[in-house]
Amino acid sequence: MSDFKEMLAAHSISRRSFLKYCSAMGALLAVPAAMTPRIAAAIEGDDRPPVIWMEFQSCTGDTESLLRANRPSVGELILDHLSLDYHETIMAAAGHQAEASKHATAEKFKGKYICIIEGSIPTGADGVYCTVAGETAVDIVKKIGTDAGLIIAVGSCSSYGGLPAAYPNPTGAVGVSELLPGKTVINLPGCPMNVDNLTGTIVHYLTFGSAPAMDRFGRPLFAYGKRIHDNCERRSHFDAGQYVENWGDHGHREGWCLYKMGCKGPASFHNCPTLRWNEGVSWPVMAGHGCVGCSEPGFFDTMMPMYGRLPNVPGFGVESSALKIGGTIVAASAAVFATHGAVTMTRNWKQVKEAKAETREIIKETTDAEE
């Protein structure tokens, strides 16, 4: 703190002299006037693809992820590689001005622009659960999405519904592909999506001029083609049977397998273990918490409870573990046939008694006969 005060003392000048200093510099230019000639001159020879990035039922986590981009950095993306004409979280314009640039791009570059969608789209109650400028997300997606040259769904919400679509899905939230049947949608699930998978997809598109190969769920193979579990650095501990049993125990500190703490790595396709997050600093398992399967269709519901291995049956609540249900099946069957056995025995008691007696008779007779 004190060093900071010295720094200010050393550098900053009093408000008055600062103002004087600044006002000595010329007045502002009136922008449009100044810009128009240069703009006109420069429009050709710029091949940055226009991008419309739209957020609906999102938490903006995927946009935040975008801001963590490093290869290329988000600055380079915005200035050098893309023309990010619409992105509510970043763009300078608001209200009419913002909508204007969205529609301008959509018309001018019909069939050419890249449409990136973050967050699920609510279809319930005619879409009133998400509107922008008085228009429902459903209508906007149908309009802007249909005319796009490439559609990318960033994050699990826009890919498969994600959080808003979790039981009981109050708003009828769906992923983009459900609203645009027939259109190719590149899904980049993850909660959030890992920005390196977005830059990877864009670079692939710019380099090879086509969408990357995808799996049955519309996920690029280069990012989702392998299971967490099969790339995990703790896999050897899984096979060796070395598991974390309690948070903070010896195994946890030693980096053993989190299978018994509910890790969903065995069910999740994502490149977290190889790519990692924040420029390769870490990923969930590396930091001691199991994978939650955030990149899978059906996440959240099929991946919860977080600390259990298999899903609970919806409605039955926390206690309805698979083991309990299975145990009940076996116990029931045992009980039924035990009673059946008991009843049969009592019903046949007389016969058994006679048989015993008769058998004793025969034994007696035969032994007598032998004497």
């Binding site: 049977g241 069910a267 006679e354």
Partner: protein, 234 residues
């Protein structure tokens, strides 16, 4: 063959002696082998499978224990798949009429229907009369059909789960379509649940073979070991 396919409903008071008309070689070798191969496969698959579900043994005394368990589980799974397939094939080839598809009661055949109801009445204590057939107990056959449905799903889901280790491989191409129908977590869940359903069947199964062995005094149990069943005349 009329009699052996028909039913003899024993009277409530069965005579304590009954002459055996002749012995029939009901369960031929291949059927008995398949039966016991599947039995042991299921035993092993259930033990290793439960371990996969919940690794209860600590590693220190068994290094690489999960690796071995999964290896055994997969190999046994392949054998089991063979066993189940073989039994289904045996419905059509290389098996006598008891073990073949003809052993399956025909709902359009009056006699078969009566036999079936006789068994149901007996099981539910509505009748004291113990029905008896040489081949399959028709109620058991229905259970067997459900059982084999479970086997087939267990095999499909098992291979599908296995194939996830190489989603670009042939196994995934053959079984991966399952994940289009249900998420892999639910596939696991069902795969786990079917284990308990099979256990439920086994209890039922062993109980009823003992039951009929006792009631009909026809060496029911030994037949799955030896193959012989007496053709009784009451």
């Amino acid at each position: 063959m009329a009699e052996i396919s028909g039913t003899t409903v024993a009277s409530t008071e069965q005579p304590m002696e009954c002459a055996v008309r002749r012995y029939l070689y009901v369960w031929e070798g291949q059927i008995r082998i398949i039966h016991w191969v599947n039995f042991f496969c299921i035993l092993i698959l259930s033990i290793t499978g439960y371990f996969i579900h919940n690794p209860f043994m600590a590693a220190d005394q068994h290094p690489y224990i999960m690796g071995h368990m999964r290896h055994i589980h997969y190999v046994t799974g392949v054998i089991f798949a063979g066993g189940v397939l073989a039994r289904i094939l045996a419905l059509f080839v290389l098996s006598n009429r008891f073990a073949s598809w003809r052993g399956i009661p025909n709902p359009f055949n009056r006699n078969d229907r009566e036999t079936f109801w006789a068994y149901i009445k007996f099981y539910t204590f509505f009748s004291k009369d113990t029905p008896h057939v040489i081949g399959h107990n028709p109620v058991a056959v229905v259970a067997y059909i459900f059982l084999f449905a479970l086997f087939l799903f267990q095999i499909l889901s098992g291979f599908a789960l296995w194939s996830q280790a190489d989603p670009n491989g042939t196994m995934y191409a053959l079984s991966g379509w399952l994940f289009g129908l249900m998420s892999n977590q639910w596939v696991r869940w069902v795969h786990f649940m079917i284990m308990f359903m099979i256990a439920g069947f086994v209890i039922n199964h062993i109980y009823s073979v003992i039951l009929f062995d006792f009631k009909t005094k026809s060496g029911e149990i030994s037949s799955i070991f030896s193959g012989w069943k007496p053709d009784r005349r009451d």
